[in-house]
Amino acid sequence: MIAEIGFGSLFISLIISVYGVIAAIYGERNHQRKWVFSAKQAMRLVFPLLTLSIGSLIFLILNNNFEVVYVASVSSINMPVYLKITAIWGGQAGSMLFWSWLLAGFGFIVTFRKWDRDQDFLPWVIAICLGTIAFFVVLNTFFENPFVRYWQVNQEIVQSFVHPPGGIQVAPRNGGGLNPLLRHPGMIIHPPMQYLGFVAFIVPYAFAMASLITGRSDDRWIQLSRPWAIWAWLFLSLGLILGARWAYDVLGWGGYWGWDPVENSALMPWLSGTAFLHAVLIQEKRNMFKQWPIVLIIVTYNLVIFGTFLTRSGLLSSVHSFARSSIGPIFLAFIALTFIASFWLLSSRWEKFKSRQVLTSFFSKEALILITIILFLGMLVTTFWGVIFPNISELVTGQKVTVGPPFYERVAGPILGGVLVIMVICPLAVWSFVSFKHLGKLLWKPFIVSLLGVLLPIYGGLTKVPAVIAFWLVAFVLAVNGFEFIRRTRLRRRSQSESLFQTISGVFQRNKRSYSAMIIHVGMVFMALGIIGIEFFQTETQGTIAEGQELQLASYTMEYEQLDIFNTSDDRNVARAVILVKKDGQVIDEIYPRRDFYYDSNQQVTIPGVRSTLVDDFYTILVDWKAVTSEGATFKVYHNPLVKWLWIGAWTIILGVVVTSLPDNRSTRAGSRTRGRDGHRN
């Protein structure tokens, strides 16, 4: 019964979405507002309908309705409630329903903004949002139906949603349970964040297309899209970083990023989205390069769909792909259609979106941002090429090939370096025109400070040249930002008499956007520090030692104290080692690498024991043990310098985005004209 409700509301939402697209376009073409209004109501209706549908699925999972194939495949009786809810996106069909539901939620919110000034956008925004929703609901309805059930027909088990003639409903006694690898706190938040990030980019795309179709070439669409894009960017960043953290904490290979095709497919929209946010800035401040944000948002939208396609078509072998599926060709057709249509539209409006301003200096802010965009696009092309190259090569030469992490790392290193160089200059550059002399004046002090930041590690025995350059750049960016902040605070203190705290908060309030950008950039640099640490300086060792024996790595010594093996109430068998971490002969910490064996899914998960400090992580993995555990256990040990800064940087970035969306203080100058605040009012 519940499954019928779930599928029924899914199907109705499909009909309504398709109706909404037609009504919106028909109303716009014939200037009949009532049709557009009706389309708007349709978009509002889709969300509650899909909520009912996903609610039914949650109900089925919570009630252990294992006659539903999806429930049996991702859930089991003993799973705690929070994991059962996580199971919604633990498999193919459910994750796509979840995706459609989020998308409908964003569509729902968009309809409630004030459209007074933007009535001409409304029908097209509806058509594009609902069209995308319809596409995903079609996939859910006809190809990846989460409500399919088991039936027994003539001694055979079949899977079908409708009752087959002569069939009796059957159910396994227990489900297979969620893949143990996914049973981690990071996994509860990582997929929703990733999906939110993906889905939220569809709204800016809808505004961009509306702007193209209506031929309105001012920056209104950008004002409306920007808050959406920033939140989409934040969610996407969070998704990526949580995924990295999960890999670091659960996958147990000492790393955080493997250039896995699915990781890449999440990274690509992030790269183009980052480029988009920067292009938006140039258009807002200088009204230049107006085609760039449109190109970039089209690319981002298509990469979002492409990413879903890669993950969900089973084209790739990866920890993320669930099963092979027949939805591949439909996805490719949809991507081709939207891509070609978008660019055809853009080319037909190309002249209209041409700007009259030109670049005047290599060191102007717009030129520097433009270079940043090119660098990000370069990384995007690299990643894209790495992902599709195996397929292209197979088509052309018939020979399957792959490219591994070394390929990406070799390209990413110099590009990251280039981005850091620009981050040194950019905070000091101004719009439209800067002379090198002016820059030099501002740069020399931070430059000297940054040298100190390099001499210190060199003194400590650091010899790798790329690492020295990287550390120097990081120090330089931090110094430039620090000096710039002090300079601006001083300027203000000279003109106003107030406390230091008032000054600082005042400086922030006055130019919140530029300071939140500063915070975000500092966060990126922290992350760069973590990446440099682990990429250049990770060391590892392994060995089998008996109780009381020691292994040494970097400045640490680990002593194997004991190993306990026990069963838990949630059907796990845990082997947990106790390790004493020593430095200079002193015990400084105790860590517990362990291995969990899940009885229900017959799979084991290795969880590292980590001692983490600002300087380095001491990361231990329990690999194996002898029958008599005191005789020996095998450990793999990594020393990961600076990796904690990766997570600190991520938190800093979140802080920066939160700062930019804080409400304005009344006493400050009225918000700049560029802030599209009404975009996320609901």
Partner: protein, 174 residues
């Protein structure tokens, strides 16, 4: 709607050519990076049959290759003291359509392992025994083929299709 053109006071004194050349230099640098890195790091992705074929033709000496096959559970041997892990993999068709014909990856892996006529390859790996290494798992290995015909893997990726969705649970009751 009219186009809005705020602050457009500065005269056009830029020389576009300069900037186009500047941009092209950056683009060229990135393209060079991509092309050179690709050439240095591309790997063949082969099936067991293809590895044996190419070995006969002498095309593989010293080359880093990537290889996939099905793990034979009985052959897995692990020495905890030396961390030497060895096992045998069986040929599985690399073509997705052929895998589909056999009824999906899980079935293709199963068929491979029970078929004594398929070509096999011995693999050796030094390091931790991965969690997913078990009978009928798909192994994706990176490394090189030694002169003695044993594949020495530097990297070991495993995938168990049955661990994910798609399999009918064992016990079904009405």
């Amino acid at each position: 709607m009219n186009d809005l053109h705020p602050i457009d006071a500065e005269p056009r004194k830029g020389k576009p050519l300069k900037f186009i050349i500047g941009g092209l230099v950056i683009v060229a640098a990135i393209v060079y990076l991509i092309v050179s890195s690709l050439q240095a790091n591309v790997q063949y992705f082969l099936t067991v049959d293809e590895v044996l074929e190419k070995q006969q033709a002498g095309e593989l000496s010293g080359r880093n290759i990537r290889l996939s096959g099905a793990v034979v559970g009985d052959t897995i041997q692990y020495d905890m003291d030396t961390l030497e892990l060895s096992f045998t993999i069986v040929h599985v068709p690399g073509d997705l359509e052929m895998v589909e014909e056999e009824g999906g990856l899980a079935a293709a892996l199963h068929n491979a392992v029970i078929d004594p006529a398929r070509s096999r390859l011995e693999v050796v790996y030094y390091g931790a025994r991965p969690d997913l290494l078990q009978d009928e798992a798909q192994a994706i290995l990176t490394g090189e083929l030694l002169a003695n015909g044993i594949f020495k893997a530097d990297e070991l990726l495993l995938k168990c299709p049955t661990k994910y969705e798609g399999s009918v649970p064992d016990q079904i009751e009405s």
